[in-house]
């Protein structure tokens, strides 16, 4: 029986299960890490099948219709007040259910991969960690007193800066983030800066009352900040 349901992973990834088996498989998936890993891996393969189907571009009007749909959505649908309950609510449609299952399966698979992350992938890992904080609906948004953008802090004190139009650091320089507790600045990571929107992970946990700031430093970073900061948050 166990082997039989494991074999359904391929049919599920291809959206080829009949409705009863689809439900049974989803119920099984919640308690079977092996199948979650297998499903995430098979989904990568079906993504290749999707790419292989590529052909003509859609009508340019499709983009406008999608964005018009989004503008017509009530905002509470975007950031649900109770996201965890919403994820398993029985009223979810088939597509919403696959979204939740995908999140679950890809998350588990990713956690296995993340332990192999080498130095070369650390920048990507940091970007993804920052994205996760920004995406967390239970995270708080703190305004900036200096600079344009926001500081987002999750319930465990992990934080990411969302910065607008900071621009690349000058040649030979770097941006450096700091967590400032009272008057004591702690280095919290360096980053190159971007035009447009930049999402930057803050190293270390941010506690209530602390401030996150960004300074311009010599390449490689500094032990003490070069004032004044170019970005400073309100106290968290």
């Amino acid at each position: 029986m166990e082997a039989g349901i494991h074999e359904l992973t391929a049919g599920y990834a291809l959206d080829a299960l009949d409705p009863e088996e689809r439900s049974a498989y989803e119920a099984h998936l919640a308690g079977c890490e092996r199948c979650r890993e297998e499903l995430a891996s098979f989904w990568e393969t079906t993504e290749a099948l999707a790419v292989a189907a590529s052909g003509p571009a859609p009508s340019p009007a499709l983009r406008d219709r999608i964005l018009a749909d989004v503008r017509a959505e009530p905002p509470q649908n975007v950031v649900p007040l109770e996201p965890r309950r919403r994820r398993v609510a029985p009223v979810l449609g088939a597509v919403a259910a696959v979204a939740a299952v995908a999140a679950l399966a890809l998350g588990i698979w990713g956690s296995r991969l993340s332990s192999d992350l080498g130095e070369t992938r650390s920048a990507l890992a940091r970007a993804r960690a920052a994205s996760a904080i920004v995406a967390d609906p239970s995270a708080r948004t703190v305004d900036l007193a200096e600079g344009v953008g926001s500081l987002v802090v999750d319930q465990d004190g992990r934080a990411a800066l969302v910065l607008m139009n900071l621009g690349p650091a000058p040649a030979g320089k770097t941006y450096q983030a700091w967590i400032i507790e009272d008057d004591n600045p702690i280095p919290a990571g360096i980053f190159p800066g971007e035009d447009g929107v930049d999402v930057v992970l803050v190293d270390g946990d941010v506690a209530d009352g602390e401030v996150v700031a960004v300074t311009v430093e010599q390449a490689g970073g500094a032990e003490t900040p070069n004032l004044p900061p170019v970005v400073a948050s309100d106290p968290v």
Partner: protein, 216 residues
């Protein structure tokens, strides 16, 4: 989070939409999903610009009708908007997630509408020979050829099961009936075929120059 959304929406009005979109061009797909979860419409637009064409090609292959294919893509992107907060952005590829949503929607539609042709594999678009597109990126052409090469190396019965399921929208029991073989045989062919395809693609990734993400 409202403060962030309003910050993102408060870009100078003199910038046209193209300039607005450029603001997100350097972000990863996963960072874009994170911004979508915070209500950033332009981030959704950028995701669409990266994945929308593949999404549409997939939906068109399954549904064989431009209007229905556009509907499937539209509904799937609306789902991306609604459920972006549930996506585990730090660990998963956003493009994989989006394309699973598009495929599920297309298959649901094709089954409901009973739009499948009697024999989708005789149609050129289902035989893995999409017409040459002059305006698509080179990496997309390369990737399509790579997957088609791998598919051709599968045993015929496995390739048939994968193509009829994924591109034709047939369920396993429908395939068993159509091909006149036991359901268990179809399940085994599908599992063996997808496993083998994964191996073949892994092998060719190691020797090829597969573009790892849909970043522009």
């Amino acid at each position: 989070m409202e403060a962030l959304a309003s910050t993102l929406l408060a870009l100078p009005e003199s910038q046209d939409r193209f300039a607005m979109r450029r603001h997100h061009a350097h972000l990863s797909d996963e960072a874009l999903v994170a911004l979508v979860a915070r209500g950033d419409e332009d981030a959704l637009g950028e995701l669409y610009d990266r994945v929308g064409r593949i999404a549409y090609g997939l939906a068109l292959r399954v549904l064989r009708d431009e209007r229905h294919a556009e509907d499937a893509v539209q509904e799937a992107f609306l789902q991306v908007w609604r459920s972006a907060a549930t996506f585990r952005a730090e660990r998963a590829k956003a493009s994989t997630w989006i394309l699973t949503l598009v495929h599920r929607r297309a298959v649901d539609l094709v089954r409901r509408e009973e739009r499948r042709q009697a024999d989708p594999l005789t149609d050129d678009s289902a035989a893995g020979v999409a017409p040459e597109q002059t305006d698509e990126a080179a990496w997309l052409r390369f990737e399509r050829e790579r997957v088609q090469t791998a598919l051709k190396q599968l045993p015929d019965v496995q390739r048939e099961a994968l193509e009829l399921a994924y591109y034709g929208g047939f369920s396993q029991s429908e395939l068993a009936e159509r091909l006149g073989v036991p359901l268990g045989t179809i399940k085994s062919r599908m599992f063996a075929g997808l496993s083998r395809l994964r191996e073949l693609l892994d092998d060719s990734t190691q020797e090829g120059s597969w573009k790892p993400e849909f970043t522009s």
